[in-house]
């Protein structure tokens, strides 16, 4: 084998020569014994330059400065002294790795090393010494293929080009040419866009060049050619080299000099590119064998491509294939290869091939961070073509014209694709930017027909006819462009691109259509579509953002959230869920519903309209392009999280008119932030579904009632007072049943429980003995503790059994008596009125509503107050009549938020406070209206049954005399009709007869037609009516004065009351006869 022999010429000047040594002498020694291992010159230089790199000695003098010296003396003084070149150990001492054959340490200055390197062309390794000939051979890739030389030694030796240069006239290039092509080629692209096939052998060689330890090529001469150790170039030169033609600034390699024409067949290999982009200082200090370089590369590449996992899996395999060169090496250096196989294998597969348009910004950033002194030069040839586009340049042009020049289509990577998101500069919202749309007539003249007629369907198949291209650019082209922009096909599919292309094109075309004068074709361009696609990719894939429809379909947000969606299609016929196929017009007439497609600009979803919305659709109020603010929508046909692109056609939003409003054309699509705008109470449609929020003023709150569900399925409603009585009655009946059962069970002869186990038997025996005993206490005193325990546990068992039996028989008996349980639901009615803004021009009678709150919470019962205005959520209209809308709500889900007094000021006054109506003013109350009165009970009639209801007349007077009533000035009398449900014969009377003479505050009585024959007022007490026996009660404070007055009158008017009573009796007797 040939090795380099270094010997001292004089002082610091060294000579060196090639010396053939016995093969065994080299190969037998693993690198762990470096002092006995003969190093190649490149090895030595590498070690030296490692030190140099650490010291930032990166500049180099003219490459040829020492050439004469070096060449003049080499081979002259070959003393044959073996070089003793330590490896890692040698690195610790500066330059002490150079030793003479006799063991003398040789000092080499850094300048000297640099010169030596320059001489050897080490920093210009990438200069490819090939000819002009176009070759697809694998060898083209690599400037320093190992050259097999029939050496002077006993075996073939693998030599570096340097060997060749100094020992023979064989040009490496020629050797390369001699190499046979090896299938299969790997496709690479040059920076100029040319496709280059690279054989696996070539890749393998590249691998070996980089010191792949597995292939055992690291300690040989090729390492000398490793340009990674050419730290001679500063940043500037690297940049120049990459962007300009190779020029004289760049040291010209010796090999180039030899061939003199190494300037064609340029290429950019992925490796080179990686190295180029990721160049940074490599700590060569720690590099023991060259194999660690790979680690370093991997580390650097990983670091700089964080998040850009972009491994090329083929590499690993490729590099494992043998080439002729590798065969040689493996044969020759098998032991070394084996030795080094382990530690550095891991990262080799993961050579990040991370270049491309997708992360242009990162590259730029990276470039700025480069450490000036630590740059290295790619091992591969620099591109020299004038039209080279560097990755940086390429990316710029990319964004400018929307096309990527980057030829290689890279495997999946998750890198930054759009540089626009997040937006750094605040932009005007479209409404502000575009302004008010111009009159429509002038718009469409200059527009192409397909733009004028653009809708989502046509947008999907729209193609750009670019003049500079030979073809049309549609979805597939954009998919390709997106891919070349760095988007991973793992995350986007043709379906994805088609979908987003559709919405983007439709949107841009709509801008063109409405703002033709302002835009004039500038928006609907390839560049804009691609930018939007990249933006969407960036947000969805890299940021994980999801649009409203996506979030709903993926099950993360309830469809009832408020959002703005745009109608993108109208399906004229509804085939679900109500009715059969029919035309749109008949659909609405039949009360069935239509379907539309809604979009959030990113995805779409089918929406089923309710009957009322379907009517609006038929009336032309819903059309493609109309935005809707949707709130409280349902979702049907949804079985679980699904991607919007995969959702079935049966998955649809359910829209109802009370939760669907037309939105302004410039409303932002998607979920709405913050609370929504309440639907005005007047706009609530009877059959229009739940009302998300509405504003109401409470005019009356009625007492809590109790609805009992009867065993026959019917219902009965009771007042609180009646319910209390009913409950008491129920409990009394239960008690009597329970008493009967208990006494019956006590009367039963107790059967001592006899269990089958010892414990029970023994316990029962003791019990029997004790029962028969005259003095059981004495017996017990003599019993053992075990016996006592047995006895007590038996007694406990017996008692438990008895209780259990009793419980069972009680339940049975109560069930039989129909007294098991009562199904009671409390509810509260609230009369409300819609709030009318003072500023509105629409002046009409505000709509009234009656809200039933089922199971009202304590909070609601205490906080709802008459005269207060609330924003209410969770109301559902049930029915309506001419004056009143009936709604219901669940106490648990409905929310009542009081409006601030300030907010209430913006609305018309809605509240008419309760007031006391004396009987002589009752004429002022309109028929069927409610009124409150404090009066003295004159007479309580008998309960009677009429039309399945218990009825009772109660006569009251308040001492007021009707001024118009000329009949002897007697007091005005009023008859109040009470009604109670008739379910039992023993129903309670609503008003007890012992109330006669008492002052009672009646609330919410309904004025009925006056009985002119008997000259009395008539009122009706309904479910909502109530009465208070104490006029100091908080609910009847407005009746306090009237009550006190009536009471005073009653005290002093015993005679008058008697007279009135007689009048009542005569009326009753008259009516009975």
């Amino acid at each position: 084998m040939r090795t380099w022999q270094l010997y001292s010429v004089s002082g610091n000047v060294l000579g060196w020569k090639v010396e053939t040594v016995m093969e065994e002498a080299t190969l037998a020694l693993p690198p762990t014994l470096p002092q006995q291992h003969l190093q190649s010159m490149p090895d030595l230089l590498r070690q030296g330059s490692s030190r140099l790199a650490d010291k930032q000695h990166s500049s180099i003098s003219t490459p040829s400065s020492i050439t004469g010296q070096g060449t003049g003396r080499e081979n002259e003084k070959g003393s044959g002294k073996a070089l003793n070149a330590p490896q890692s150990a040698g690195l610790e001492k500066q330059f002490s790795m150079f030793q003479t054959g006799s063991g003398k340490a040789v000092n080499i200055s850094s300048a000297g090393l640099n010169r030596a390197k320059a001489l050897l062309g080490l920093q210009d390794i990438e200069t490819f010494p090939a000819s002009e000939t176009k070759r697809t051979s694998s060898d083209q890739l690599f400037p320093f293929p190992s050259v097999t030389v029939k050496g002077t030694g006993s075996t073939n030796a693998s030599l570096s080009p340097f060997d060749v240069k100094f020992t023979s006239s064989v040009s490496p290039a020629e050797e390369i040419l001699n190499c046979a092509d090896k299938p299969p080629p790997i496709k690479f692209h040059t920076a100029g866009g040319r496709s280059i096939s690279v054989s696996s052998e070539a890749l393998k060689r590249a691998r070996s060049l980089l010191g792949d330890p597995e292939l055992g090529c690291l300690v040989d001469e090729d390492d000398a050619a490793d340009p990674l150790f050419s730290f001679s170039k500063d940043q500037k030169s690297v940049d120049q080299a990459s962007t300009k033609e190779l020029n004289s600034d760049t040291p010209v390699s010796l090999l180039s000099a030899v061939k003199g024409n190494g300037s064609s067949s340029l290429f950019t290999s992925p490796l080179r590119s990686t190295l180029y982009h990721k160049k940074s200082s490599i700590k060569t200090e720690n590099l023991v064998p060259a194999s660690n370089l790979m680690k370093e590369f991997d580390a650097v590449a990983k670091e700089s491509t964080s998040g850009l996992d972009h491994s090329i899996p083929q590499h690993g395999q490729l590099f494992e294939k043998n080439s002729t060169t590798m065969d040689l090496r493996e044969n020759d250096f098998a032991s070394k290869a084996k030795f080094l196989e382990g530690p550095s294998r891991g990262p080799l597969v993961d050579i990040s091939n991370s270049f491309g348009a997708g992360f242009a910004d990162r590259n730029q950033n990276f470039g700025r961070k480069r450490k000036p002194g630590g740059s290295f030069v790619s091992p591969f040839k620099k591109p020299r073509s004038a039209n080279i586009i560097t990755p940086l340049k390429r990316n710029d042009s990319d964004t400018a014209n929307g096309f990527s020049n980057l030829a290689p289509k890279l495997p999946s990577q998750k890198g930054k694709v759009s540089v626009r998101y997040p937006f750094h500069v605040p932009r005007m919202y479209m409404k502000e930017y575009l302004g008010k749309p111009l009159p429509i007539q002038s718009k469409l003249e200059s527009l192409p027909d397909e733009v004028r007629r653009m809708n989502p369907d046509t947008a999907e198949i729209y193609v750009f006819n670019d003049k500079s291209c030979s073809g049309c650019i549609g979805v597939e082209s954009f998919l390709e462009m997106l891919s070349r922009s760095g988007a991973s096909m793992q995350y986007v599919s043709k379906k994805w691109v088609t979908n987003h292309y559709k919405w983007i094109v439709w949107k841009l075309a709509s801008y063109e259509r409405c703002y033709n004068a302002k835009i004039s074709g500038k928006l609907l361009t390839i560049c804009n579509v691609l930018e939007e696609l990249k933006y969407r990719y960036e947000r969805e894939v890299n940021y994980g953002h999801r649009s409203a429809i996506k979030r709903i379909l993926e099950g993360d947000v309830t469809p009832s959230s408020m959002m703005v969606l745009c109608i993108s299609n109208i399906y004229s016929v509804c085939d679900s869920p109500v009715g059969s196929q029919s035309s749109l017009s008949s659909t609405t007439e039949n009360g069935t519903c239509a379907k539309v497609e809604l979009t959030d600009g990113w995805y779409s979803i089918i929406a089923v309209l309710d009957t009322l919305l379907s009517k609006k659709l038929a009336a032309g109020k819903l059309f493609v392009g109309q935005k809707l603010r949707i709130w409280g929508a349902g979702l049907c046909g949804w079985t679980g999280p699904v991607s919007p692109l995969e959702a079935s056609g049966t998955t649809s939003l359910l829209l109802h008119i009370n939760g669907t409003y037309r939105a302004h054309w410039a409303s932002r699509l998607g979920f709405c932030k913050g609370g929504g705008i309440p639907l005005s109470f007047m706009s609530i449609k009877e059959g229009g579904g739940a009302v998300p929020i509405t504003l109401v003023g409470i005019s009356r709150i009625y007492p809590v009632l109790f609805r009992e569900r009867l065993s026959n399925g019917g219902f009965i409603v009771r007042s609180e007072r009646m319910e209390a009585r009913e409950m008491q009655y129920f409990n009394e009946r239960r008690c009597s049943v329970v008493e009967g059962i208990v006494s019956a069970s006590q009367r039963e002869k107790r059967d001592p429980y006899i269990g089958s186990d010892y414990e029970s038997e023994e316990g029962a025996r003791i019990l029997r003995i004790l029962e028969r005993a005259a003095e059981p206490e004495l017996l017990m005193a003599e019993m053992t503790s075990e016996q006592l325990n047995l006895f007590s546990s038996y007694q406990a068992k017996l008692e438990a059994l008895r209780q259990s039996d009793l419980q069972k028989s009680l339940e049975r008996a109560l069930q039989d008596a129909g007294l098991a349980e009562r199904d009671i639901t409390p509810f509260m009615r609230v009369r409300v009125v819609g709030l009318t803004s003072k500023s509105t021009s629409l002046k009409c009678c505000p709509k009234e509503g009656l809200i039933t709150i089922w199971n009202p919470t304590e909070k609601q019962q205490s906080e709802l107050a008459e005269g207060q205005a609330f924003a209410v959520s969770g109301l559902t209209p049930i029915s309506a009549d001419s004056s009143t809308l009936y709604l219901q709500a669940k106490g648990s889900t409905a929310k009542w938020l009081p409006l601030s007094p300030l907010a209430i000021e913006h609305f018309e006054v809605f509240f008419c406070p309760r007031q006391s109506i004396p009987l002589n003013k009752l004429s002022e109350v309109r028929m069927s209206r409610e009124f409150d009165i404090a009066a003295v009970v004159v007479f309580v009639g008998q309960l009677y049954t009429e039309a399945h209801q218990k009825k009772q007349w109660v006569f009251v007077a308040d001492g007021s005399t009707a001024t118009l009533d000329s009949n002897d000035g007697s007091e005005t009398l009023m008859a109040i009709s009470f009604t109670s449900p008739c379910i039992r014969t023993d129903s309670f009377a609503p008003i007890s007869s012992n109330l006669v003479g008492s002052t009672v505050c009646f609330c919410n009585l309904i004025k009925r037609a006056r009985d002119n024959i008997n000259n009395l007022w008539v009122a009706e007490a309904t479910e909502n009516s109530t009465y208070y026996l104490n006029y100091d009660h908080s609910h009847c404070s407005h009746l306090k004065d009237a009550g006190a007055s009536a009471e005073r009158w009653a005290k002093i008017s015993g005679l008058r009351l008697e007279k009135l009573r007689g009048r009542v009796l005569s009326i009753i007797s008259c009516s009975e006869t």
Binding site: S470, G601, L835
Partner: protein
């Protein structure tokens, strides 16, 4: 084909010009309805939203006419 480069246009990219209505903001949907505008004037959704054709100024009408005319042309 599309792989060929069209001439780069010097126009501004639309996304830099203005903000679109579909550029949704990523935020957590607050299920709890809160009245954050307490004290402010409470507006109500269209006193008569569906019957009022001026609800969207005249843009909607225009758009509708346009779409109708497009349909007729087909």
């Amino acid at each position: 084909m599309a792989t060929e480069q069209p001439k780069p246009t010097a126009e501004d990219v639309k996304m830099d010009l203005f903000e679109d209505d579909d550029e949704f903001e990523e935020f957590a949907i607050d299920q709890e309805w809160e009245d954050k505008e307490e004290g402010n004037e409470v507006t109500q959704q269209g006193e008569d939203d569906w019957d009022d054709d001026d609800v969207n100024d005249d843009f909607s009408l225009q758009l509708r006419k346009e779409l109708e005319s497009n349909t007729e042309k087909k």
